[in-house]
């Protein structure tokens, strides 16, 4: 199976997801999850970088 075919199969399988995720509560939870991950990932890496520099001192 080529990559394109594999992506098409996965896409076909995913066509039902939009209907399920169209619920406002589920969509809202998904949006919160996306924002929290986008914000916390760099914030935690930043914190770790500054903490490790303090340990070195």
């Amino acid at each position: 199976m080529t990559t394109t075919e594999m992506l098409r199969v996965m896409s076909d399988a995913g066509t039902g997801l939009p209907t399920i995720l169209a619920n406002p509560i589920l969509s809202g939870m998904r949006l919160i999850g996306e924002l929290v991950v986008a914000i916390l990932t760099p914030a935690l890496i930043d914190r770790q970088a500054r903490r490790s520099s303090r340990i070195l001192k």
Partner: protein, 174 residues
């Protein structure tokens, strides 16, 4: 724009080091936080007039400017924070299709329809922001490790989103 907005927050940190990165990260996503609230409240509209139009984003920037300046006494920092909030609108014009004002036209290059181009543009914004941000970290052994981890994590998240967009083209925001 998705993870690319983080690039604006990272650049904001370079512009005013006294502002916490977490504050800038929350600020850069203010219009999306408003969308999330509207979605949960059942008042989301696909036009995103209340969250992404020019008057709405300018209002958020003004509120952010006044709140941060009043709380911290750092009005230059408040201006940087307001600029980071405003940047959301300009970056979304590159990747999305956003409202201008009530009754006005929708504008944007809609790169979301071209995930590869979207990844390249967002990746460039992330990279520029990351390079600017690197200068704010204190001197340390192997400084490239932290910035590599940061850029790697952000680019991986952006890649996942763009692949997800390719697979679930019809997934609505709310």
């Amino acid at each position: 724009m998705y993870i690319g907005h983080v690039g604006a927050a990272l650049a904001g940190k370079r512009a005013r080091r006294s502002i916490g990165l977490l504050v800038l990260l929350i600020a850069t996503y203010v219009p999306d936080w408003v969308d999330t609230g509207l979605c949960l409240a059942g008042h989301f509209t696909p036009a995103e007039m209340l969250s992404h139009s020019i008057p709405a984003v300018v209002l958020f920037a003004l509120v952010g400017f006044v709140l941060y300046g009043w709380r911290s006494g750092d009005w230059v920092g408040a201006a940087v924070l307001a600029a980071v909030i405003l940047s959301h609108m300009f970056f979304d014009w590159i990747t999305g299709d956003k409202p201008t004002w009530p009754g006005g036209p929708m504008i944007g290059l809609q790169l979301y329809d071209h995930p590869v181009a979207d990844f390249i543009v967002e990746g460039a914004v992330i990279a520029v922001g990351g390079i600017l941000y690197a200068d704010t970290l204190p001197p340390r052994r192997s400084p490239w490790i932290d910035i590599s981890v940061m850029l790697g994590a952000l680019l991986t998240m952006q890649l996942a989103i763009d692949v997800g967009h390719m697979l679930l083209k019809s997934l609505p925001k709310c």
